[in-house]
Structure formats: structure tokens, C-alpha cells
């Protein structure tokens, strides 16, 4: 059952301002925004920009204790909104509502397996930065240059597996995997009952969910679908 947009209790509207932008790769960047003093959220939740008639959601990558809000954004060149964030002058004002969503970490006796594709890593950053450790993280990206947060996740994940989908001559990280996250789960991940947290591309979420039914029955599946 998908409820994320519909049952979030009335989210408030906030004004914010672009403080800073830094490019992580040619197509992915981080932005830092002024944090409205009354805005609170839980790690894993997201904000929704309102720009004329456009609404776009972004997971917060900072923690509730940070004084600013940061987001990690993929630049969809032909998209209507991400190019605006990619080009806006520092100091530009924006409006957002939030917090939205229920994709928060829920401790349990089962091991947590975080699975992200691309910028789907964003909610796990906030969760990890808030002190959650000991999880398994599979990060599906095209090439190792997309593993922007690798050093951080190596410090807090029990198991960190970059999954590189584009076969190139480059050497993969020693504990990396050449192939999609689904194939890693299918071929390498031990059967068992886990709490899966899936974030990013909808196709990955579908494929992993179907795999959970087959190979990891009894596991829980929490999802945050970006596109």
C-alpha cells in the first residue's frame, strides 16, 4: 500500500534560501539550504519544493541536528525542475513543504539491508549521519565515480557493496561488485529474513521486492520510489 503522499499529516510550508552548491560528479550535485527554525524532520524524510505549478520531492541528507538542510540531486538536463536547482544563483529563495514520508529507520531484531540506486542513497545518508550503524548497504551506480559518499558509508555500514552496472576497464573497489544490486542479492547475499529498505529507481524496487518474495520470504520491505 502506497501512502507516502496521502497520509502525511498536514505538512507546513516554509521559505528557504540557497546557500551553497557543490558538484559531486558532472551530473550530480549537493545543495545546502537555509533551515527554517521551526522545520523539523526525521532522518529519511523528504521535503517538497513548490515552484509555480511544479512540485518535486527530495530526501534530506543532513540530520535533524544540523543547522542547514542539504540535498543530493541528479541533474536531469531535460527535466523541468532539477536544472533550476542546478543553475539557481546563491541566495535564490524557494518554498517547500514537509516533512513528508515514512521512510525512516525502524530498529528491529532483523538485520537492515539498505539498497539504493544513484541518488536513492540520499535518505541513507541522513539515517547514517544520525548514528545508525551496522547495516548492509548496496549502492547501485553506473561507475565508481558515482560512489560519492563511499568513505562515509565505509565508516558506518557493517557491509558496504558498491554495485557497478557499467562494465569498464576500471578496476572495481576490492569489495565491489560488477552488476546490478538485484544480481548481487540473487547470487551473493545469504538467504534469511531481513528488513529491506529500498530507495531510488522504481524498477530496482520492483525487482528487489519480487526477489524478496522468492529468496527472502518473511522479510519486511520499506520503499522510497524516486522515479
Amino acid at each position: 500500500m502506497k501512502l507516502s503522499k496521502t497520509v502525511t499529516p498536514d505538512a507546513n510550508s516554509y521559505a528557504t534560501e540557497l546557500l551553497d552548491r557543490c558538484w559531486l560528479t558532472e551530473i550530480t550535485f549537493e545543495i545546502r539550504l537555509k533551515r527554517p527554525p521551526s522545520f523539523t524532520f526525521e532522518p529519511g524524510q523528504r521535503i517538497r519544493f513548490q515552484h509555480h505549478s511544479i512540485e518535486r520531492d527530495y530526501s534530506v541528507i543532513t540530520t535533524p541536528d544540523d543547522t542547514t538542510l542539504a540535498l543530493c540531486i541528479y541533474h536531469v538536463e531535460e527535466g523541468p525542475f532539477s536544472p533550476i536547482l542546478a543553475a539557481a544563483a546563491i541566495g535564490t529563495s524557494f518554498t517547500f513543504t514537509g516533512p513528508h514520508g515514512y521512510f525512516t529507520y525502524r530498529p528491529s531484531e532483523r538485520s537492515a539491508v539498505f539498497v539504493a540506486t544513484g541518488t536513492g542513497i540520499a535518505p541513507f545518508l541522513s539515517i547514517g549521519r544520525s548514528g545508525v550503524t551496522g547495516f548492509t548497504l548496496l549502492h547501485g551506480v553506473k561507475t565508481s565515480s558515482d560512489l560519492y559518499y563511499q568513505p562515509f558509508f565505509r565508516s558506518c555500514a557493517a557491509v558496504y557493496v558498491p554495485c557497478l552496472s557499467e562494465r569498464r576497464t576500471e578496476t572495481p573497489p576490492t569489495d565491489g561488485f560488477h552488476g546490478r544490486v538485484t544480481r548481487y542479492l540473487e547470487e551473493q547475499f545469504p538467504p534469511g529474513i531481513y528488513d529491506f529498505y529500498l530507495s531510488g529507481q522504481q524498477e530496482m524496487i520492483r525487482d528487489v521486492t519480487l526477489l524478496v518474495d522468492e529468496k527472502f520470504p518473511g522479510s519486511l520491505v520499506y520503499t522510497e520510489s524516486f522515479y
Binding site: 500500500m1 501512502l3 497520509v7 525502524r106 524496487i205 522479510s219 519486511l220 522515479y227
Partner: protein, 189 residues
């Protein structure tokens, strides 16, 4: 964002609390009914004349409440997701009771069964009532299988809410006929 996910193609679906269950699961039946009811209420609202703004708002508030009910039905008891949800409480049922009393004042006493129908909005209200009753029956069945007291309590509150809502929808159907100057048709045995 794509609407179709494909993760339900093999007869399973995910509960809000993360479990993968069969689509024939009682919980899925129950929140499916609530979803259907909500959609029928959408039809009802669409059939109301624009000047019935207050009534429209009242029904839309009920539609929001039904999302909360659906969310409750889609979580397993004791799951951490449950603690994120707003409870369905007596407050919600009391609002329905007040609305029933308000509309009932303008209606004649009822001594016979009515044929569902009349104005299109009244007809929608009767469909909604019947779906609401089905939802209630499914929630009652669900609460009979529920092992935990905390869940039984919340499901009981949902049953009370749905029961009151079907009464509201019956009175609303009559109210809709009244505001459109249409007489209810009595069942002739």
C-alpha cells in the same frame, strides 16, 4: 513517477508496515473496501451542486479520515509504523453523529424501507453506504483474527467509525433527495 510498479504482478502486495502478503489477505480486502468507499465518495462529491460547499467540505474531510482508516488497516499491530499514524478515535465518530443529527432535523420520520435512489447524489450516497457496510464486515472479521489487545482496540474504533459512517451515508442520501426536492421512494411490499 510511474504509476505502475509491477511488484504486485504475482499476487502479493506490501503492507504499509513492510510485510509482503497475499492480495487475498483480510487486511488487503479491508483497506481495499475503504479505498473503494473513498472513491465512491468522490463520485458523490462530484454530483453535488456547487452551492453545497459545506456538505462538500464535510465529505472531503471524511475522505481524509478514510485515508487514515486505510493506513491503520494496512499496518500490522505493534509495528513501528503504527506509532506514526494518527489514531481513529471517538472524536471522529462524534463528528459524524453531530452531522447525522443536523441533517436528520430536516427529515420526516421513517417508518418503511426506502428504495435506494432518487437524485444522483442520493444514489451515490446509497452505494457508498453499502460499500461502507462491506468494509465494516471485513474489519469485524479482521478484528476476530487479531491476537493483540492494542490492535483489537484500534480495530474496534475503526468498526465504530465505519458503523457511524454508514448511518451518516443513509441520512445523507435522504438529505440529498430533500435538498433536490425529490421524495424518497418507499418499498412497497
Amino acid at each position: 513517477m510511474k504509476i505502475y510498479t509491477g511488484s504486485g504482478d504475482r499476487g502479493k502486495t506490501s503492507l504499509f508496515s513492510g510485510e509482503r502478503v497475499s492480495k487475498s489477505d483480510l487486511r488487503v480486502e479491508a483497506y481495499g473496501d475503504v479505498d473503494e468507499l473513498n472513491s465512491v465518495l468522490g463520485g458523490l462529491v462530484a454530483s453535488l451542486p456547487p452551492e453545497e460547499l459545506k456538505l462538500t467540505e464535510e465529505i472531503q474531510r471524511i475522505q481524509s479520515d478514510l485515508f487514515r482508516v486505510g493506513a491503520w488497516l494496512a499496518v500490522t499491530p505493534g509495528s513501528s509504523v503504527a506509532s506514526d499514524l494518527e489514531e481513529i478515535s471517538e472524536k471522529h465518530s462524534k463528528l459524524l453523529e453531530a452531522a447525522i443529527d443536523r441533517m436528520d432535523k430536516g427529515l420526516s420520520n421513517l417508518k418503511d424501507f426506502l428504495l435506494p435512489g432518487g437524485h444522483i447524489s442520493a444514489a451515490w450516497a446509497h452505494v457508498a453506504r453499502a460499500v461502507c457496510r462491506r468494509a465494516e464486515r471485513h474489519v469485524v472479521r479482521l478484528s476476530a483474527t487479531s491476537a493483540k489487545d492494542s490492535e483489537s482496540e484500534q480495530l474496534r474504533a475503526v468498526v465504530v467509525y465505519l458503523n457511524r459512517l454508514s448511518d451518516y451515508l443513509f441520512v445523507l442520501a435522504r438529505h440529498c433527495n430533500r435538498i433536490h426536492n425529490i421524495s424518497d421512494r418507499v418499498w412497497e411490499k
